[in-house]
Symmetry: C2
């Protein structure tokens, strides 16, 4: 049986996050605390606590008397976020390569890469995105810095909502996995500099692709 006892403020946190990612609470929309409380069928107190946490994670903004606003993402925001991800993930890749991980340790990474290949063959973008998430997440875990894990996870969350839009605008990421394999091998073979530089290029490329895409489609906010 799945744990049924979960505090209301925890539930509020989970459900609000889910509703933000799913778009049920859309970017730029405003919501009164009491409205959210009604929606989640609890009092304002736990909702406020959840909202406060989500605000500190950059997903929304509390504006007294105007309501809670789900933050939209501009191309500038994308640039900022990707720059943070680039730096911290590249560092993680370097550290992971220094750590001398066994092939066993790297199995999740390998699995994610295989899954991406499979997803591309089937042209299943959602499955690809899921595997890509797992790759980046595991890479950071292997880097062994829990703060980097937390920050990267936060930044990834900030772009997560927008991805449902961008994912289907972009070309099939057929080339992307070549980079992943190089990073994987560099980590396995203990080549920190290669792991870092390859991953850095990979992320910089992704950033450019994404921002160009937004520009091309004249999307000023997501």
């Amino acid at each position: 049986m799945t744990n049924k006892s979960l505090s209301n403020s925890q539930r509020a946190l989970n459900e609000l996050r889910a509703k933000i990612f799913s778009g049920e609470l859309s970017a730029g929309s405003d919501h009164l605390e009491s409205e959210l409380a009604d929606l989640l069928e609890m009092s304002r107190t736990p909702v406020r606590e959840a909202v406060l946490t989500l605000e500190s994670q950059g997903l929304l903004e509390m504006r007294p008397r105007k309501g809670v606003r789900i933050l939209p993402l501009s191309p500038d925001d994308m640039n900022e976020i990707y720059d943070v991800l680039t730096e911290l993930e590249s560092h993680a890749a370097e550290r992971a390569a220094e750590a001398g991980h066994s092939t066993e340790d790297l199995s999740r990474l390998a699995q994610a890469i295989d899954d991406m290949d499979a997803a591309i063959l089937k042209e299943d973008l959602d499955a690809w995105a899921d595997a890509d998430d797992r790759f980046h997440k595991e890479l950071v875990v292997l880097g062994g810095n829990s703060r980097i894990e937390a920050i990267v996870s936060m930044m990834s969350d900030q772009v997560r909502r927008a991805r449902s839009t961008t994912l289907f605008m972009r070309p099939l990421p057929t080339k992307s996995n070549a980079d992943h394999r190089v990073v994987y091998q560099a980590i396995r073979d203990g080549d920190p500099e290669l792991a870092r530089s390859t991953h850095k290029m990979h992320r910089q490329h992704a950033k450019k692709m994404l921002v160009d895409l937004l520009q091309k489609h004249r999307l000023r906010f997501l």
Copy 2:
């Protein structure tokens, strides 16, 4: 007139932060919500909100029924934090150098460097630390990424409390300013790679010095 109306939860945030930095709430100590509420002369509600925010910033931890625990810093934590600072500040330095700032734009940076020199002459460590903070803060501002600003500020806060201890254990930072000047000049002269690499070395050196110091003094927690 300074703004006198400040919500209680804002006041709680400010005052709790101050008390953590000053050591009045010491690392590892536990405090009940009601105890903090009494201390700040307000009800538990705004205290809880402030505590929630501070938790998300990594300064403390809420442990139901055991109280709010001010988080101690281990040498491992220091390593993690300095690695994040190293990566993100170096990136900021690189970006600042790319941005083509005028000498005017860089005046705060120059001022901070001068102040550090003056502080060292007077052997005033508190003044030095203050100027050093300003240098690093301004560097990140010049980098132009608001998320990096926020993250760096958060990480700096996490080590701030510990610095009151380490500051007086370490040798006078007489050499440190040479690095700062190189970074400054690289930014002014538009040499991103030099700005980045110099600052990165600077931070790596600081990390090593600090961690060695803790080891030498057998300080497992701060």
